[in-house]
Symmetry: C2
Subunit: 324 residues, 2 copies
């Protein structure tokens, strides 16, 4: 079972959300239209909308209603990406030029602000105050996380806990909230939305760990950007933390990271990548990711055995093994 | 009558909002706390909260309820200022170092995102969906305006209409919405909130025109930043537009603006300031501002003659004449 097969069953509904996504950023302002559509077309897995749609099937599924959750969550994700690209000084993402490199930093900043504001505007079509409270709380955490990631750049003394809290805010929270709000907007019972929240949280943790692994093991063609982007900007990820805890390699690795930092990331990071790839660190990170996937699937126990449940399990397995 | 006297009558309530403002950005994250409180302490006239409180007196005034409007509106205003400082490359605002100059651009961007998110979180404590719909719509327009202002930098071919639409989005809308939502959150009748919206809109237009005039006529001590900041970043304001329409001065002024643009604003702008100050352009801009104040006050006719109405009129007059 792969993601495309699951998606193909939901093709019509995903296409509808995609249309609403495009409409949502419509504006008479030529440049904002261009930057927003550029982002849209850069694509992405649309994993948040898919989770909203699947979670919605545990209640009274109403596509028109839950697109008001699916669209904002994808928009919020996109807005954070544009702002991150400003910070990361990234020129490409998913093989496409970033807004900040095609236009400039200020255009990227304002495009992010605009998309974010549009996200809220779409969400306000739903009147259940819990939805807005949960959503805005999650967004605050995401923002704290954005700032937090700066603080930990090149910090080789950080703990596993620092890393896990960071990826929770960066990725897991919005996926958790996608599942939770898809259920709430469909009037599913509270224990159902709580279970789906936990599912999304664990899947999100595994998702980001896989992402961090791929940045170390993938090729430029697979990633749409050169491998080692994380360390070049100072982002210390799970396999690197494991390697730093290995006395055999620790001092060499510290020296290599210090070298990269000194050169502001503008250097060949092949030596660094080899050090990480040649040890058992990727494997260890993979094991933690797999444990999160197991926990995600466990969270679903007790939910009715509908098709969407099977799909969530399949997606979780896919995320645990994905190589792109 | 001056603003301080009006404020002094509302001192207790304003102090309460101020406390809630500070609490609203509270976070365990040391740097975000520092940047947010730095912004808080930079002060400002808190004109949006004051309008919310006054508008609230046209309904069932409940401070605890309407602070959930007053606080977010001031926070949203602050968030746009931080992001604008990134774009404007401003080192000081109100005589204080800006976040982007005390820290850096990425800290300023994320601080803005964070404050904005907190604004939403506070607002979601109110459950009337109209509030969120009106607020998010206004924010979208503000964002479009942010982008729009970039497009018009140094554009000497822009029309009066371009300028007015820009200051509407930049300033008048959020002030209009402050008045409107203060009334709505206090369950004032629809025609009352509509009148207050119009009042806020006209006052906001006059406010920004005065602001633009002061940047041309004020001293560094009065402004907390050097005069001529607008033209240095390419912002063509009302008196300049009037001057550009004067055939006597037009070609000299075009040459001077071209010179400033060529030097990226890094030049003495005294010649430019003299050209504007020595003609009737400031006066003409003042007249338009005064007309907006008249319209603002007209908008209040038909509202009950409570103390808040008199205060709104006094504030409008104050704004029409303010020299700082």
């Amino acid at each position: 079972m792969n993601l495309l097969q699951i998606y193909s069953r939901m093709k019509k509904d995903i296409a509808y959300v995609e249309r609403r996504l495009e409409e949502s950023v419509h504006t008479d302002h030529a440049m904002l239209k261009e930057t927003s559509l550029h982002l849209m077309k850069a694509g992405g897995k649309r994993i948040r909308p898919v989770f909203v749609l699947l979670a919605g099937q545990f209640g009274r599924y109403d596509l028109e209603r839950i697109q008001h959750i699916a669209v904002p969550l994808e928009l919020i994700h996109m807005a954070t990406l544009v702002h991150d690209d400003v910070i990361d000084d990234a020129d490409t993402r998913r093989g496409q030029l970033t807004v900040k490199s095609k236009w400039d930093n200020r255009v990227a900043m304002y495009t992010g602000d605009y998309i974010f504001a549009k996200a809220l505007m779409v969400a306000t079509q739903l009147t259940d105050p819990r939805i807005h409270q949960l959503l805005s709380k999650a967004i605050v955490e995401v923002c704290v996380g954005e700032m937090e990631q700066i603080r930990f750049f090149f910090r080789t003394d950080q703990t596993l806990r620092d890393y896990l809290l960071r990826i929770k805010r960066k990725t897991a929270l919005l996926i958790a909230v996608s599942c939770q709000l898809g259920a709430i907007a469909s009037e599913a019972p509270d224990d159902v939305s709580a279970k789906l929240y936990r599912f999304g949280y664990y899947v999100g943790m595994a998702f980001q760990i896989r992402d961090d692994i791929l940045d170390l093991t993938g090729t430029e063609k697979e990633l749409g950007k050169p491998p080692g982007s994380d360390i070049r900007q100072g982002n210390i990820t799970l396999p690197v933390l494991y390697a730093l805890n290995d006395p055999v390699i620790r001092s060499d690795l510290l020296a290599e990271i210090a070298r990269i930092q000194q050169l502001d990331g503008q250097t060949d990071v092949t030596p660094f990548l080899s050090m990480i790839r040649n040890g058992p660190y990727i494997e260890a990170a993979d094991r933690l990711s797999a444990r999160y996937i197991d926990k995600a699937i466990d969270s679903l126990s007790g939910l009715p055995d509908i098709r969407a449940k099977k799909d969530l399990i399949d997606i979780a397995h896919f995320i645990g093994n994905r190589s792109y």
